[in-house]
Symmetry: C2
Subunit: 401 residues, 2 copies
């Protein structure tokens, strides 16, 4: 009998009615002959509500205690789901992260899974129980509860699937992975399959379906992933190792898999710099110390033996950036309301001219871009947020997405 | 340095502001030179809210999963309190029941504390940390989370105090133990001290300050208890072994310590019974099997070789009782809207005539009673609920309470 790990995020278990729907889907999958392990997140707004309380009680809540606090959310959803399944006549058992054998290391609030001791889960599966695991959490060597940070429940599910040599199904409120976010392009196509590499790139470039960290873990342990709607009604998207998007029609025309975007981009231009300017190094050290991430970074050598540096960052860091630039006496300009639009596809590796064709789209649409960044399987453009919808649709038309 | 266990119930930590008040009191006690261990209940309505969700998901929520669910409530309040103390600059650490070393046995939802392994608490105390323990919970030998049932957090606190050879302070929203519930008799006196025995009797007979189970445990291990208002502003009540209420004025007049009451009493009279009626035995077996507790039980032999049986039970069991009585073809009468009023005092043991004096009060007030039950240190009367206030005040006047 195959083992299956099913993961449900917070929006899939946000109400008792939704928990009932989830239970139905679980029983449907179990009746197909699988041993089922379910990983759940906290119900809907639970985590936000707990953080609200924490922020009323501490200016900067101590991370070890925040972990303890936040871990309670998944325990609630796991036990509620288990008792509903039992009420329906199906043996089930919930486990905290610790009880499920998740051993963690590293910092509180962003710990890593060191290993999983699955013996209690296996015992329950052998008793034909449906196992429900509180995601997002584990216990470190000091016996302290830790949480796994962003995308933590996805990571719990994938790690467990790796340990149990199981398939992993991630259920969300989106019906899979689309070529373009359907909120931007309602007639975007759903992809039947993408590679791990493409899914990681999409996640890093703004697609919000599944965290890059989880896909990387799945890739490392060759865990077959499946992303689908939490009602189970429509076919979702497989994420695996296959190199071609074999299930998509019109194969010859398909060259790219996805367009993603990240909003709230800030572009900083540093001007009047020396060719090799010590201030620039100092600036990036200061930004790193202030925990300000910079994304795209370009340096251009100008004719008059001067240089210019441009970088992008998140809008939320604007005040911190300005403080550092002023301290270092930079001459600078900041441009706001920008969006990074990325086109992604592992086929890009073997297909020349994607950048040129994309460039043609920008010219035809008369839309300016302020920075370009490329990787092996993606190209990103920083554009005015106001132009996002127009350029995303034009690119999608061009590449048949 | 003395160790002190302080316990705060759900109403004392129901809001972030109240948690701040609790922190202040904790720091006040710590600054008096104590090592402090705090046991907390879940915030305000948390447990009720969790039960509401559970009841929407299961007709009869599975007890093991209910324990898992309910245990989350105390984890929230413990971690919030700890992070607030840390924010104020005082090292603190929260522990789940399991982390604090509470090993339990017995049924889910009403497990007992088997033992406490306090090594992690002691480590933290030695680092001068304030220890915050999630009350009401522990882990059994199977590694399952269990809760301690009614009065569980009080029991956690007392058991911990016993293990640490500490004093135990129970903070509530009532300023100690009164001769009569101040809601019935606003000018009731607060008792400076009562014996364990008296406190147990009061708890069993309706006083809601502290659960009988906790006082019995305190008595067994000679843990000095102190019950007080959660603001720490007024002197509370000590519960210990002393045999006389030494701190109360007018000692000669004081013969009793407390009047308590239990509402929602149902009185059942079984009529037309044989002298030794097999049906009566069957009836009590059936009630026990249906988990229906009967309280006071009287059997009277009548002149004509018949007998009558009367018993009291809780109103909520009315339907179950009627079903059993009908099945067994009893002739019966049920009287509702009754209250059991009890007068309590260990002095009663050495003072004859309390019952007689109390009887005189009923006659003078022209208030009927339907049953009497006596113990070593208490007398209970079943009266019409409508007469409760009048008879409680008349008895309190008579016995100067």
């Amino acid at each position: 009998m195959n083992t299956l790990v099913m993961k449900f995020g917070g929006s899939s278990v946000s109400t008792t009615d939704k928990i009932k729907d989830v239970a139905e889907l679980i029983l449907h999958r179990k009746s197909a002959g699988h041993k089922v392990v379910v990983v759940v997140s906290a119900m809907g707004d639970t985590t936000d509500n707990l953080l609200f309380l924490a922020n009323r009680l501490a200016k900067k809540p101590y991370e070890k205690e925040l972990d303890m606090l936040l871990s309670s959310g998944e325990i609630v959803s796991a036990s509620l789901l288990a008792m509903h399944l039992i009420d329906l006549g199906h043996p089930a058992q919930s486990f905290t992260g610790f009880q499920a054998g998740f051993k963690t290391r590293g910092q509180h609030l962003s710990s890593q899974i060191e290993t999983i001791d699955p013996h209690r889960i296996l015992e329950s599966l052998n008793l034909d129980k449906i196992v429900i695991v509180a995601g997002f959490q584990g216990m470190n060597a000091e016996g302290e509860i830790t949480t796994l940070g962003r995308g933590g429940s996805d990571t719990s599910a994938v790690a467990l699937a790796a340990k149990l040599k199981a398939k992993c199904e991630i259920y969300t409120d989106v019906a899979g992975i689309y070529t373009v976010d359907p909120r931007i392009r309602p007639y975007a196509k759903k992809l039947s399959q993408v590679t791990y590499e493409e899914a990681v790139e999409m996640a890093n470039l703004g697609a919000k379906i599944i965290a890059a960290r989880s896909v990387e873990l799945a890739s490392k342990y060759q865990v077959p992933l499946y992303v689908a709607l939490n009602t189970g009604e429509v076919e979702g998207t497989y994420i695996n190792n296959e190199q071609e998007n074999s299930m998509i029609e019109n194969m010859e025309e398909i060259r790219l898999t996805n367009i993603s975007k990240i909003d709230d981009v800030l572009l900083v231009n540093l001007e009047k710099l020396e060719k090799i300017d010590e201030k620039v190094t100092k600036c990036f050290l200061a930004l790193a110390n202030a925990n300000i991430n910079i994304d795209i970074l370009n340096q251009i050598l100008l004719k008059d033996n001067h240089s210019a540096v441009s970088f992008t960052a998140n809008k939320s860091d604007k005040a911190g950036i300005i403080e550092i630039l002023n301290e270092l006496n930079f001459s600078y300009k900041i441009k706001e309301d920008l969006t990074k639009v990325s086109i992604i596809g592992s086929a890009m590796r073997h297909q020349a001219g994607v950048a040129a064709e994309a460039f043609r789209v920008f010219v035809d649409q008369n839309i300016p871009y302020y920075m370009i960044s490329t990787s092996d399987i993606s190209i990103s453009y920083v554009v005015d947020t106001a132009n996002t919808k127009q350029i995303v649709n034009a690119l999608a038309d061009k590449f048949n997405l």
